[in-house]
């Protein structure tokens, strides 16, 4: 069994009887002391004796203790989810981020990165094939604020590649339905639905507070409008596009990097929509998730990202090509 920092805090506050055992090596205990909790120093081989009390096992990230409980088949024993890392973060700001422990144990993310995600606002323009998977994975990963912009209603032909929606949703607003489903993925998420199509008249207002914009639209004209606002407002934009079995991703206008206009010229033209050219459901899921990954990297400051590059993915061969678009010979 596991116990979250919030639940353990409640045990302490209510005076529940339990035994806490810290099984970390001395060096970890020295560098990362536990606050607000009396814990017996123990080892995996020498756990404290107890009568009927619950046992709470504590390690640095909550991984070893989960394994220990299974391995020794311990009854009435709990592993502190996220370990001391999550417990101490909870002591600092009363925010329980332990559900993201599998992310926060990554040294590139840690609690600091998770807090940045929690504080961030990502705007997704287009809640279709790219927008749905991007929104799902961003919500689940702990992004605190999502803004969804789309004026379309759900159609039967959307369902094979837009897994936030089902047959009962046909005719309903995409962003309204998406909001409800996304909140079920992460109750800490604040999500705003903008049921309208982004254009030159409303784009500035809609995008002004975003930390990152995900371009999940289906036409060049709207991509150009987003690009212009992204560039002038200095808000990075993660472009994604599809053609049959192929996808494109780029990070645009990031720290002065190239934008859509640079990559495809101001008078860019061509390419059919998914409705015209067709698309297999998995392809937008792959590309939308790469967009979400790049957005998270921008928020956390994890480099390198796809700024100055255009990623080309082929779903038939699984070949990827990364073109340097920031270089003009």
């Amino acid at each position: 069994m596991i116990i979250t920092p919030q639940e353990l805090h409640n045990w302490v506050s209510t005076g529940r009887s339990f035994v806490a055992a810290d099984i970390r090596p001395e060096e970890q205990r020295y560098h990362f002391p536990i606050s607000g909790l009396e814990a017996i120093i123990a080892t995996a081989e020498n756990l404290p004796a107890r009568k009927k009390e619950s046992l709470v096992l504590i390690c640095q990230f909550g991984v070893l203790t989960e394994e220990l409980i299974v391995e020794k088949n311990l009854e009435n024993a709990y592993s502190l989810l996220g370990g001391v890392q999550s417990w101490e973060a909870f002591q600092t700001d009363n925010m329980d981020l332990s559900r993201w422990t599998r992310q926060t144990i990554l040294p590139e993310i840690g609690m600091a990165g998770q807090r940045k995600l929690q504080d961030s606002k990502i705007t997704i323009v287009g809640m279709g094939g790219l927008g749905c998977p991007a929104a799902q994975t961003l919500a689940a990963s702990g992004v605190g604020n999502l803004q969804l912009i789309d004026g379309d209603a759900i159609e039967l032909s959307n369902l094979h590649r837009q897994p936030l929606y089902n047959k009962n949703d046909i005719g309903r607003s995409k962003v309204t339905v998406a909001c409800k489903r996304l909140k079920k993925l992460n109750e800490k998420l604040t999500v705003i639905a903008e049921e309208r199509t982004l254009d030159e008249s409303n784009g500035q207002e809609l995008l002004k507070d975003a930390d990152v914009i995900i371009d999940a639209t289906d036409n060049i004209k709207t991509r150009q409008v987003i690009d212009h606002i992204s560039k002038t407002a200095r808000i990075p934009m993660v472009y994604g596009g599809l053609y049959r079995f192929e996808g494109q991703v780029a990070v645009l206008n990031h720290n002065g990097g190239p934008g859509y206009e640079h990559i495809f010229t101001p008078d860019a033209a061509g390419g059919d929509t998914c409705a015209e050219a067709g698309v297999l459901g998995m392809l937008p899921a792959i590309i939308g998730n790469i967009q979400a990954l790049e957005a998270v990297k921008i928020i956390i400051g994890l480099k390198p990202n796809l700024s100055g590059k255009l990623l080309l993915y082929d779903g038939i061969t699984h070949e990827t090509n990364t073109i340097n678009v920031g270089v003009n010979r």
Partner: protein, 80 residues
């Protein structure tokens, strides 16, 4: 000289293959190659913007090609 061409998205479908190996005369440029590709597409790329990369670096102006160069033609795509 031998030039290797990579065709993406609409270009791939317009010319019928994702990769080509072409023999070009010395002095040929990326613009010459783009003309050849557009001719091969029989009009399917007439209204399509093509960007060109040589050995994975974008070129914004025509540049002379060298034996063994890999040239990619990349159109914008709309789908989302």
């Amino acid at each position: 000289m031998k030039i290797f061409v990579k065709c993406f998205s609409q270009v791939k479908y317009a010319v019928g293959t994702s990769e080509l190996a072409l023999d070009l005369n010395p002095g040929a440029t990326t613009a010459d190659l783009e003309t050849m590709i557009r001719e091969k597409s029989a009009g399917a790329l007439d209204d399509v913007t093509l960007r060109t990369a040589v050995n994975k670096d974008y070129v914004s102006q025509p540049v002379p090609l060298e034996d063994g160069d890999e040239v990619a033609f990349i159109p914008p795509v709309q789908g989302g």
